[in-house]
């Protein structure tokens, strides 16, 4: 349950939205992408300032004590502006995993630092809580004396280059285990080149890196973390879908051909009306998933999967059609449309494909 009142939530959202409107323009977005970090650190710090990084963290650890709905609102705004910050990984998945499975006092220290914007966590390996699974990893954790050490290699780890910790999942014979490794000389990160320039993926190499093993990981707890990660990404996609749609509608009203705005042509209007159904369905699904998680509803599983494939597919379709409706201008690197389109494509396999979620949705409807 969220500890935030409806009014505070709206104020938080409005404040963040105004800030991004002023500070997260296309120029800054591109500069952030081109930077070492991959995103504009001043935005991250401002998010800490506004209490957003601790939105899913309990008040006991300097967080705000929000729920999935609060996370969704932040993610929608992040998605609108395509801000490529490691929010879902650090502030949702890692924060939830740490809160559940890391003992005090480490837990307290880490959560406080996450909320304060002092550390980020990257997530890799395999397991349900890992957004980009790498089945080909060669990770192995061994007990050496009292402590665990990590060896081997794993790829497809987002934002790992600047992360202060790496949370690694190792699923063996259907059993999940997870380890937290501090960035150190025993870990090297090599950047992968990616189709979406905003997506920062790395291969990590571990040689006798010291690790903390997460404790008492239960399937239900991991599933909760997974669902919260999925719902957060879905909300980000819903926000991004609406943003590229709005950009496109504005263009349709202002671009003239044949002596009239192109938005007055019926072929274009009908595309727009169809896309609006996708845009609104994405928003509704993301919201329904977050609400179901917050109320502890037994339908959460169903709504989370519904949101996953609806938002992925809507983002893909709307961003692709946006390019078509813009014509040649959107075929240029300079125009922002392809950045939305690339982000949509980069999201297709996060936490599983649309087809997998559709299957899961059907199963959970049967179970209900």
């Amino acid at each position: 349950m969220s500890q935030i009142s409806d009014e505070d939530r709206q104020a938080l959202r409005d404040g963040f939205s105004r800030y991004l409107e002023a500070e997260a323009d296309q120029e800054k977005l591109r500069a952030g992408i081109a930077s070492d970090r991959g995103y504009d650190n001043s935005i991250w710090q401002q998010m800490a300032e506004m209490g957003l990084l601790g939105i899913a963290i309990s008040e006991d650890f300097d967080g705000v004590g929000g729920g999935a709905t609060d996370v969704a609102l932040v993610m929608e705004e992040v998605g609108r502006k395509l801000v490529p910050v490691p929010f879902a990984s650090t502030c949702v998945v890692a924060a939830e995993m740490i809160a559940r499975f890391v003992p005090d006092p480490i837990k307290q220290d880490l959560l406080q630092k996450i909320a304060a914007g002092q550390l980020t966590v990257s997530i890799g390996g395999t397991g349900d809580f890992v957004s980009l699974s790498d089945d080909g990893h060669s990770l192995s954790a061994e007990l050496s004396g009292d402590s665990w050490v990590m060896n081997g290699q794993v790829s497809f780890v987002s934002h790992a280059g600047v992360a202060d910790y790496h949370l690694l999942g190792l699923k063996e014979d259907g059993v999940d285990s997870a380890y937290l490794v501090t960035a150190s000389d025993a870990v090297s990160a090599e950047r992968l080149s990616t189709n979406d320039p905003a997506q920062r993926l790395f291969t990590l190499n571990f040689s006798d890196a010291e690790a903390i093993k997460l404790e008492d990981m239960d399937a239900e707890g991991i599933n909760q973390v997974r669902m919260r990660g999925v719902a957060a990404v879905a909300a980000e996609q819903a926000g991004a879908t609406r943003a590229i749609f709005d950009i496109t509608m504005e263009y349709l009203r202002t671009r003239y051909q044949f002596g009239r705005p192109i938005g007055s042509f019926q072929a274009i209007k009908h595309m727009a009306a169809d896309l609006l159904v996708e845009v609104e369905s994405g928003t509704s699904a993301a919201l329904a998933a977050a609400k179901a998680l917050d109320s502890g509803s037994s339908s959460a599983e169903k709504f989370v999967s519904l949101a996953a494939f609806t938002c992925k597919d809507a983002f893909r379709t709307v961003s692709a059609q946006a390019i078509q409706m813009h014509g040649g201008i959107a075929y240029t690197e300079e125009h922002i449309a392809h950045l939305y389109w690339r982000r949509a494509r980069a999201g297709l396999s996060l936490f599983g494909s649309s087809d997998e979620h559709r299957e899961h949705y059907l199963k959970s409807r049967e179970a209900a």
Partner: protein
């Protein structure tokens, strides 16, 4: 007994309605207690007098002043016992339109009559005015306190049963088309009104041709004002589209969430439920239906906080995809069995009916293409297409 008003709890409302129904309705015989057969007028009058016909309307207009949510409880209790007459504030398009835009005189005179009778038919479409409804040519000519009506309507659903119809007529031919229209509440049961049923692709004959020859309607039955019929008509058509978006045209509560969806039942029965391709299609179809429901829930929320919601206009369009899509999947599930017809093949009969009936949603009440025009122009503010007849006196407009 608790008093039914805005402060009544769901439990109170439920127990009051249940008690009322216990007292007045015989669920077994499906008629009023103490009667042997169902007398529609007498029953509807009872429901009307109790305020259950239009519970969300204020008490001075035959309602109980309840919220939509509270009204829903009444509707459910009636549905459970298969008793007619509740929720007319959601489905009786004629009464809703008169309530919203009719004169005080018309409301007082006609709402009690309308609410205790059959639903109104919609006398809009004509052979030469379909999507382009503002092109109606049915004439209304003033004569004393009346107007005399002559013209032809078509595709008029339920015209045989209806006692009244909402009628679009032309009253001024010398101004552009939208400005010379008058909207009437028209009495159907009179000389000069001939109704001829049309056979439909569903096998039913719900819609009709209506030939009107010098029939009469009192001037007091104008809904809204003379020559401003297009404006009052907008209220009626918007409401019609709204309830179509909620699946009102569908057979047997297919939108109900609590039972197993028909597609799953069919897939199991025809042993295709394990096929991953089939499962993908079914999942997506069920998702479209659920998403439309979620969009409409959000719309209701927005209406409660802002007074309006642009989401509402999406329902009918989305519902077309739902209905045509589900019918297509069901047809594939049946395979050869879908080729058959007749009492021995109820699955085939049902799904072939659904496949045809889906057009009622995608053509009736304005086609999907017209809906897309409306969404693009009114919701997305995309510029209108140039109209060739916008500023031309209707008399001079070209027609086929």
């Amino acid at each position: 007994m608790a008093i039914l008003d805005r402060s009544a709890s769901p439990e109170d409302i439920n127990s009051v309605v249940e008690a009322w129904l216990d007292q007045h309705w015989d669920s077994e015989k499906r008629c009023a207690k103490g009667e042997d057969s169902y007398d529609e007028k007498a029953w509807l009058t009872k429901v009307f007098e109790a305020g259950f016909c239009v519970p969300s309307w204020p008490t001075e207009y035959y309602g109980l002043g309840l919220s939509q949510k509270q009204s829903g409880i009444i509707e459910k209790a009636f549905a459970k016992r298969k008793a007619q007459g509740s929720a007319r504030d959601r489905f009786h398009l004629g009464a809703i339109t008169v309530f919203k835009v009719g004169s005080e005189e018309l409301k007082r005179a006609m709402l009690p009559v309308m609410l205790t009778g059959p639903i109104c038919c919609l006398l809009y479409s004509e052979p030469n005015a379909g999507s382009d409804l503002a092109g109606v040519r049915t004439k209304a000519i003033p004569d004393g306190d009346d107007f005399i009506i002559t013209g032809q309507k078509i595709w008029t659903s339920n015209a045989q049963e209806a006692e009244y119809g909402m009628l679009l007529t032309r009253t001024d031919w010398d101004v552009p088309k939208h400005r010379g229209i008058t909207f009437f509440l028209f009495p159907m049961k009179q000389d000069g009104v001939e109704v001829k049923p049309i056979n439909q692709i569903t096998g039913e004959s719900e819609f009709n041709e209506v030939f009107i020859t010098e029939a009469r309607v009192p001037a007091s039955h104008i809904i809204g004002n003379l020559n401003e019929g297009w404006t009052s008509f907008q209220t009626a058509i918007a409401y019609e589209r709204l309830i179509m978006g909620q699946g009102i045209t569908e057979r047997r509560g297919k939108s109900k969430a609590d039972s197993e969806p028909q597609l799953i039942t069919l897939a199991r029965k025809y042993e295709k439920y394990d096929d991953p391709t089939v499962r993908q299609k079914i999942a997506q179809a069920l998702a479209y239906r659920e998403l439309n429901g979620l969009n409409m829930q959000r719309a209701k929320q927005e209406i409660m906080t802002n007074g309006s919601s642009s989401l509402m206009s999406l329902g009918k369009l989305a519902m077309s995809r739902v209905q045509h899509g589900e019918a297509a999947i069901a047809t594939d599930l049946l395979g050869n069995a879908a080729l058959l017809d007749g009492d021995d093949y109820p699955d085939a009969v049902n799904i072939n009916f659904d496949a045809a009936k889906a057009y009622m949603n995608s053509i009736g009440g304005g086609t999907d293409q017209i809906q897309k025009n409306i969404i693009a122009e009114r919701v997305l503010n995309l510029p209108k297409e140039p109209d060739l007849d916008r500023d031309v006196a209707f008399r001079d407009v070209k027609s086929s």
